[in-house]
Point group: C2
Chain length 224, copies 2
Amino acid sequence: MVKVVLAQKLLQANEEVAAENRRLLEEKGVVMVNLISGPGAGKTTLLERTLPLLKDKLGVAVIEGDIYTTRDAERIAGTGVEAVQINTRGACHLDAAMVNEALRQLPLNDLDIIFVENVGNLVCPAEFDLGDDYKIVVASVPEGMDKPAKYPLAFQKAFAALITKIDLLPYSDFNLGAYIEQLLTINPNLKIFPLSALKGEGVEEWSQFIGRVAWKRRRNLDVI
Amino acid sequence: MVKVVLAQKLLQANEEVAAENRRLLEEKGVVMVNLISGPGAGKTTLLERTLPLLKDKLGVAVIEGDIYTTRDAERIAGTGVEAVQINTRGACHLDAAMVNEALRQLPLNDLDIIFVENVGNLVCPAEFDLGDDYKIVVASVPEGMDKPAKYPLAFQKAFAALITKIDLLPYSDFNLGAYIEQLLTINPNLKIFPLSALKGEGVEEWSQFIGRVAWKRRRNLDVI
């Protein structure tokens, strides 16, 4: 019982900081996107391909969550986009306070969109609001068909789902049509983007979409 | 500070139940193997291929951890091996108390080996001892080369690492030799099995290995 009460208090404290992040970002006109996936779904590679398509038109930055290493932030820096690294030191997800600290290191007045790459974990990150405008769930073809059913929270809370590594479709028994149907059963409003960050297929459609979302949001237009 | 103290107490309480599980299993001469991986690394498919190779020679059972569904236990039941389902109802890992309850439902006197399939999560399960004899970490080729560096705890605590989906090697930039070197740098004692549960390659070697481990352990022989 103590455990449950404490967990509720922690979540409540997190909600308060998340609301503060959201106020700050709204004031500055910045959209924050929270990328959630299991390990190795390809979030960093996707960002490496997406950022070059956005950075000349929009002010873009990345907050990189990782347990110990700075590898992903270094990969993002290679695109010329500013990246702030958060090391959770063992913790299995980012929380709003960690993101708050990272936001203070970014030139918010110059930005339109911030991508947050959460810790590679399809469970815990879905429970912690960061003050983001949109959660994007990323799941790869080789992870198999059953992930939306087995980890429903991440898919229910998501604004969009990216189905990555579609270049591996010919070598697997993954049924893309049935998977999309399944996604829409769990979350009928989900925007869905099948793509291959490695081969490039679908990356432009996704990049245009998220760029348009940020652009419209900044101007207080209805999204989509 | 309260958070840290409570976390320590929870871990300590878990250690006590884990020790109880370990005593019970030792008394019954049963080896318990804890399979840890991110979502979609292929733990269930691996068990579907492994169990038929073991079940005629050894008493085998499976404890299936999943957040909400019973899909994996149903798949295991299809092999004719007894499976007990634990639903964590949102929790991101199994703990020793959940496993203790499952052990009470199994005919321990008839068993040599119990496989525990943990929740698909490469972070949290590594922190919670279940009273298992061996932790086995499972990571697939499409997850990429950087997982051992990014999620070191699971690899450091493991007795063996299974590199799954090697049938996808020709379609990726994954370097198997370099990956194995990396694994041995993190954990020099790690037994390593590259395999493809889909195509069958390497499954027999792994199955023979884990069967031998259980057989020797039962007879109090040195393992390996």
